[in-house]
Each structure stands twice: as C-alpha cells, then as structure tokens.
C-alpha cells in the first residue's frame, strides 16, 4: 500500500481527537463556508501538488543521468582493467606477442573512446555542479593518458615489460582507479 494511504490512516485519530475536543470542551467547529479561505486552501494544495510533481520528475531525470554517467565511467575502468590483465600476461611470458599487442591496442582504444563518450554524455546532462564533474572527467582522462604512456611508451612493443615498467603500469593503474572512484562518488553526490 502507498505511503499516502498510511499518512491518511494515521491522520484519522487526529481528526477524531479534534472533533472530540470540540464536543467535550465546548469548542465549536465553524460551519459557515468562506469562499476566500476555500480558494486559498485549494491554491495552497494545488501549488504543493505541482511542486511535488516537478521535483519528483527532476529527481527521476537526474537519477537516470547519474546512472548513465556512472555506468560509462565503470565501462572505461573495465577496459583499462582488461588491458592490465594482458600486460600482466606479457610480463609473465617476458614478451609482447603480436596478438597481445593487438589486444592492448583494442582495450586502450575502447577506453579512449569511452572517455570521449563520457565527455559527450556530460555535455547533455543538466547537473547544477556540472563544471566540477567535468573537471573530474578531465582528471580521469589525464590519468588514462599517463596509464597509456606507461603501457605503450618507452620501447613498446619491441621489448618486454621489465620490473620497472610493470611497476609503472601498476602505479598509473592505481592512480586511474582512485580517480575513477572519486569521479563516481562525486557524480553520485551531484546536485
């Protein structure tokens, strides 16, 4: 049953109490109808219902936008994570095969395109603090480019990842992940 039903039900004892109070303590309920007060009451209820509907609609739209943005950020994170898995494999086998090179390129391209899609999506959203969220997205892009440099910079793809290069990949991946989490939390709190 809806919340309105329960509110109505719990208001009933209050109505009985007021009527009882009037009956037994000598107060009287005015029974004459005052047109101005009825109009006033109707307008007040109308405005309350209108604003409740407007805010509910806004909230619902914002919830959808937030979910879309968060899903997009998570998708980028998945591509970066997949790329990390391939890099681990390359490090373990002490070689970057053509097939792994291709996988790394594809995951990085998907992540880069995910960032481009995130920027377009944010341009469509109507958050009050959009500028701040866009700053987080720019930070995410910078972290991604640092990660890409760590994965495909240096002497990639001709020399395998040594211990130093792998540590660099881990470090930049960690920075990316932290930025991603901050961006998700910020979007979730967006007004």
């Amino acid at each position: 049953m809806s919340i309105r039903y329960w509110i109505g039900l719990s208001a009933l004892p209050l109505v009985f109490l007021v009527i009882g109070w009037n009956q037994f303590l000598g107060f009287r309920i005015l029974t004459d109808i005052r047109l101005f007060e009825i109009l006033n009451l109707t307008a007040t209820i109308g405005i309350a219902v209108y604003f409740q509907r407007v805010f509910a609609k806004q909230q619902s739209e914002q919830r959808i936008e937030k979910a879309l943005v968060i899903d997009q950020i998570k998708e980028i994170g998945n591509y970066v994570g997949n790329c990390g898995g391939v890099v681990e494999g390359c490090h373990a086998s002490a070689a970057i095969s053509k097939s792994n090179q291709s996988k790394i390129n594809h995951q990085l391209r998907n992540a880069a395109n995910g960032i481009a899609a995130l920027n377009s999506l944010l341009a469509e959203c109507q958050f009050a603090d959009l500028k701040e969220i866009q700053t987080y997205a720019a930070g995410l892009e910078a972290c991604f480019l640092n990660y890409k440099k760590a994965v495909t910079g240096g002497s990639y793809p001709d020399k395998p990842y040594n211990v130093g290069a792998t540590a660099d990949v881990h470090r930049t991946h960690g920075e990316f992940r932290r930025k991603m989490h901050s961006a998700i939390v910020r979007v979730n709190r967006a007004a």
Binding site: I104, L108, A112, L145, T152, G154, D158
Partner: protein, 110 residues
C-alpha cells in the same frame, strides 16, 4: 578566409595499418621511420608552400605512445612545437581522443 591547399597523409594507407614502436631498430613501421620518410618531407613541403598537412589517423589498429611521441614529438623537437601545430591538422574518427594526445606530445616536446 584560409585558402591554403590541403595535403594529406593517410597513415593506414600510406605507411602501415599496424604502426609499431619508437625506433627503426625496434622493428617495422616505427615512429622514427614514419617521421623520416613520410612526415618530414611532406611537412617541409607544406611549410615551404604555406599549405596545411592533414594527418588522417583512421584505419589503423591503434597507436602506441612510443610511435606517436617519436613521430610527432620528434618533429616538434626538430622544428619547434608552434610551427608543427600550425602546419599539421589531424583527423581521427576512430579515436577522437588521439588528437588531443598527439597535440600534448607536440606541445611538451623537448
């Protein structure tokens, strides 16, 4: 109105659809090879004639940072970032973010 003529390099068609790493010693289709045999001659020609050199990045499998930095950052180290940014124009529908990435390598080339 800009009446400069446009000259174009389509990397996937004119060079390789699987660009490689940094140096020629590292293997096939390196950034150094691309810069020396494709980019630099056309860049100098475009500069001489006051035209724009368009670099089309579409159709390739993907670009490693090592390739991009050596090709475009290397050109900027030799001829200056401003001159390279003024002469080159990039297009990439496959991965639009690449353009900002390359421009950052050109701007930070030392």
């Amino acid at each position: 109105m800009n009446t400069a003529q446009l000259v174009r390099i389509i990397i996937a068609k004119d060079f390789s659809d699987t660009p490689g790493g940094r140096y020629r010693s590292d293997g096939a289709a390196s950034g150094e090879e691309f810069r020396e045999f494709q980019l630099k001659p056309k860049f100098l020609n475009a500069q001489r004639e006051g035209t724009i050199l368009e670099i089309d990045l579409d159709g390739a499998e993907g670009y490693a940072t090592s390739f991009l930095e050596e090709a475009f950052g290397g050109l900027a180290r030799e001829y200056g970032a401003q001159s390279v940014l003024k002469t080159l124009k990039f297009t990439c529908a496959d991965e639009p973010l690449l353009i900002r990435e390359i421009e950052s390598y050109i701007s930070s080339a030392k």
